[in-house]
Symmetry: C2
Subunit: 410 residues, 2 copies
């Protein structure tokens, strides 16, 4: 039997737009890996009546309820109290938790206030979930038809306790955990991906496979989970089929991130890249250097925004700019080749374009971008017309540059 799961979060800050509840998105993703989909998610404020009503409703519908928030030391933190009230049991002090909280305060040299003792109070009969990531322990109880898990809302604590206690308990209750795979694509729209995937999704041998997408723009991820005895083999067979289906558009799997894949490829080949960016304004360099250890593959880059900077920093001839305009194939090539020569790098990326909202002309509208990649075998060039606002044009361009570089290193 596949359990029904609901998520319940409490906290005024979640209802005033102060905080985006990213915890639940993260948990939904993890549950998907177990073959579970959340049936309903509810957010309520720090109000006894609302919280007790939501607890009663969720635990009457679901087999598992994962609740977060309201576990702090303040008057607004009502979770343990409300769970106890709905259960009809008193709160009881849990001495090991109180001791752990005391030690934590000692360790950080902060005074423990009487408030913090509240974080060691749990409904009678609750199973305490120790928290080595923060102060507030979690707990679980049987309530209504559901196993109810109550966790602190601080993301590092929430995720830590989910990983250590909630997800293993859920997985242990399943007859089998499905095998999940993710393939990451670039340069295709979600509808094109969906269209291409249809025959695989409708194939009789893939009955019972759960497919999904995540438009992690400018990437698209295709994912699926397979249950049953030969789950791993079936999931891996699909991996081969999906890779074959999308060919060159595939750049990664699983937890891969494009900047990291590019940097690791460079490092494994003992090669370096340099950048000369105009419209992306340093975004390509920023993405590359976001990867730990990138200094082995990247040692310099320039942002050449003006005509003068393109000439002064990369040696683009002023006549070239005058003849073709700054946003042109020859200038992109000169940026790539000039920066590569200057840095003595294996690869040189040159980018020039019109990110908008101003600067467009009928011949070169906003979104016009020229990318060039200079390398050992010569210089490749692509022209693009991206849609969207300034941020979207810049991000599309930067990821396209990384993708071009990765393709060139096959």
């Amino acid at each position: 039997m596949i359990p029904t799961v609901e998520i319940l979060s409490t906290g005024d800050e979640l209802l005033t737009g102060q905080v985006v509840d990213t915890n639940s998105t993260w948990l939904m993703d993890r549950l998907w890996d177990l073959g579970l989909m959340v049936r309903r998610k509810t957010l309520v404020g720090d109000d006894r009546g609302d919280l007790q009503a939501a607890l009663r409703e969720a635990t009457a519908r679901a087999d598992v309820v994962v609740m977060s928030g309201g576990m702090g030391p303040t008057e607004d933190d009502l979770t343990a109290e409300c769970v106890a009230a709905v259960l009809g049991v008193p709160l009881e002090r849990h001495e090991p938790s109180l001791e752990a909280i005391r030690r934590r305060f000692q360790h950080f040299g902060r005074p423990m206030t009487p408030n913090n003792e509240k974080q060691a109070l749990f409904p009678r009969g609750a199973a305490v979930i120790p928290n080595r990531f923060g102060t507030a322990p979690g707990f679980s109880v049987q309530l209504g038809r559901a196993r109810l898990y109550c966790l602190p809302g601080v993301p590092v604590e929430y995720k830590g306790l989910c990983d250590e206690a909630v997800l293993p308990a859920l997985a242990a209750g399943l007859e089998s955990v499905p095998a999940g795979r993710v393939v990451k694509l670039f340069g295709l729209g979600e509808s094109a991906v969906d269209h291409a995937m249809r025959p695989l999704m409708d194939a009789p041998e893939n009955q019972g496979v759960r497919f999904g997408y995540r438009a992690h723009w400018p990437e698209v991820h295709v994912k699926w989970t397979v249950g049953g005895e030969d789950a791993t083999a079936r999931a891996d067979r699909l991996l081969g089929e999906v890779r074959a289906l999308f060919g060159d558009a595939v750049w990664g799997e699983g937890k891969d991130e494009l900047p990291r894949v590019v940097v690791e490829r460079l490092l494994s080949r003992g090669e370096r890249v340099t950048t000369a960016e105009s419209c992306t304004g340093g975004l390509v360099a920023e993405l590359l250097t976001s990867v730990p250890g990138s200094s082995g593959a990247f040692d310099m880059g320039v942002v050449a925004y003006s005509y003068e900077a393109k000439s002064a920093l990369v040696g683009v001839p002023a006549e070239l700019i005058a003849a073709h305009g700054a946003v042109s194939e020859p200038v992109a090539r000169a940026l790539a080749e000039g920066s590569r020569a200057r840095a003595g790098a294996t690869w040189g990326v040159g980018i020039t374009g019109i990110a908008g909202p101003g600067g467009g002309t009928p011949e070169k509208p906003v979104g016009t971008v020229h990318l060039a990649l200079a390398g050992p075998g010569g210089t490749a060039h692509v022209a693009r017309l991206y849609r969207g606002d300034r941020d979207r044009v810049r991000r599309s361009t930067a990821f396209e540059a990384l993708f071009l570089l990765l393709r060139a290193m096959r």
Copy 2:
């Protein structure tokens, strides 16, 4: 009477971790400006039973329910059908909407499929909300005790229809719309801000003022709304008091964004900045050039990651690096001054540091950063030890650099 508001969203993609529901956070923020707080938010999947139950429950509790999703052309889009079922009325075709959808498809030169006709079907008696941002119109009906608004889930359409139809209708029903103000701070933790704000928040003359924070890291925003007759005057008086309270830590108000404030200040003074970045890897340049029109204030920057790049691109003497190490005050100063001289800019930003996770030593642990700002009056320097991961160290550093520059242009 202040109405009770609930949010209801539908869509399997919201329950599988594929999509973060940012629409509701946005709406909560807007409602806060009207003095309204959302009482409950519910997410359900594309399931008739779940959706009808959630509709019945929310419209029995609240005065206003804002629902999103399920308005597309596919079989999974169930909103109009489920609202009609709960109301006990049939769906009816709305000819003006069908005509508008047809025109939209003609305009974009795409064929209209029979599916799309579904988007012109509404529960009998519904008030249609035209959608000039996309295909699917919204609608509103009276259901239970609530006015129910049903909107498409695509963010640009959702926000557009909220701004054009939902929020004005809500505001019109209020006796008075409170005056809201936001002050934006840098360099202070949320708890320090809360501590400093306490006397203002507890002052008798501020009774009835609703205060809130948003930790928009590495910034903190303080906001408040005031109702009643002299709302604007009271909100503005508080603006003066909060500004006085935090002094130099205040960099903006309302919708201000730090990179934009910095670029606008530069443009208004006719000045330019250049950057020489090591550990931030181009992030400062990227933030500056994210602002439309920044080319008037920024024309070049370099990312000098290696020792050699620092010397070759900015002229940092190799002996200086050998004597003090690359992460040091003298090298930060040389980066700032060298880049300023080279670019002929008014301001030069120099950044060197250890973003981690590797590269730390007992003397210079991960998070050690030296920032320098060279300007007409000399060169300022700050040393910092930031906590957190690589991304956090880099973002803290980049925003600190922008903040330093802004402070220098008072």
